[in-house]
């Protein structure tokens, strides 16, 4: 059987997919708080920018995060069009290691200029040991692994995503 083809999310997704973030008159289904940072004991922030092939920040992308470590199943969504620096910003918690693999968050990217969404992963800088033996990270050419590992500053993890170029992020076929 065929698959329905993917088509771009286009430039005008915000009022349908992230309406409250962009102040449109429609209710949000989901936002960037995978957990409530004011009540959760160990919240982290995940932030970053997305760059195009000219190294310019992409202001009209939508980022989705999904994490499931067997205990917490968390989903969030945020567009890069409202932060003054066009960052994506999420409040979540660090997932646990599953089956000895390094903890990670699934990242799904949508944007004008992408006919089909891209999947990547966010790993954590302070999980050096598990990162070194992680099955998926070890499948990635060594020189490109760092494109998946978020830098830690306090409780903030930062990972910039490059669509193209020398620093091109590793994207996965799922």
């Amino acid at each position: 059987m065929p698959q329905t083809p993917s088509q771009t999310v286009g430039p005008f997704f915000a009022y349908g997919l992230c309406p409250e973030q962009y102040a449109y008159d429609f209710t949000d289904l989901v936002d960037n708080q995978l957990v409530d940072p004011t009540t959760h004991p160990d919240p982290i922030m995940v932030v970053g920018k997305i760059y195009d092939g000219n190294n310019e920040t992409i202001p009209d992308a939508m980022v989705e995060l999904w994490q499931n470590d067997g205990e917490h199943k968390l989903f969030g969504r945020f567009g890069t069009g409202t932060d003054p620096e066009n960052r994506f910003i999420f409040h979540t918690i660090k997932p646990k290691s599953v089956h000895g693999q390094a903890p990670f968050i699934n990242v799904i990217l949508f944007m004008r200029g992408q006919l089909i969404h891209s999947y990547t992963r966010l790993y954590f800088e302070d999980e050096g040991e598990l990162n070194a033996t992680d099955e998926v990270l070890n499948q990635v050419p060594e020189g490109r692994r760092k494109t998946l590992i978020a830098k830690k500053q306090g409780s903030v993890y930062e990972l910039d995503i490059y669509m193209q170029g020398d620093r091109e992020t590793v994207f996965f076929d799922l």
Binding site: T8, F12, G53, L115, V136
Partner: protein
Amino acid sequence: MSDKILNRFDPEYQPAKLYEGYKSTILRAPSKPLVVIKQSLSELTGPIFGDMNIKPLDHDLTKNSVKNGEPMGERMVVHGKVINEKGQPIPHTLIEIWQANAAGRYVHKVDKHDAPLDPNFVGAGRCMTDAEGNYHFYTIKPGAYPWGNHPNAWRPNHIHLSLFGPNITTRLVTQMYFEGDPLLAYDPIFKSVSPKAREFMLAKFDMERTEPFYALAYRFDIILKGPNATPFESL
């Protein structure tokens, strides 16, 4: 939740990442090959949305943003079935919907097209499939609109749809077009997929489901990735 290994996106039906006719892909499409990985617990699950996430008028775009009257345009019901590649229905899955109004204008603040906004139409909605995978929503037929991709470029009439399916690997954002639209022949986004794949983005007029004195009807079935017949070889 499903613990089945799912098929990959099928290049016979899916667009390539880079399609130069659609100019924005040139600086935004990943250029290096994708890394094929084994699907883990996180990939084999995904967010679950329930009826509690849906408000009573979310599935009726002709009513969910009324301010002082009915929206302008041709009222229609869009319906169909969400299935996987094996033909199995996908029950209780979320469909998010957004589109231009009858004049081809989006509510989005960045849309500068010189066409009127409709005070009674936002153009956003959502619905769930039922136990058999069937869905329907009411809306107004969207208008065509110009864009800057190439000289005198027009997008054919279309509705944007976003689906989740059983897990994050079945995620799909697509556009539903209308059978017979003359603009399809000129649209690089529609033409970014193979000719045989294009018909799976076309809604068909459905006389039987029209509602007398109320709405025209279009049928649009959606096929998500399905379980793989062969076990995934360990990498």
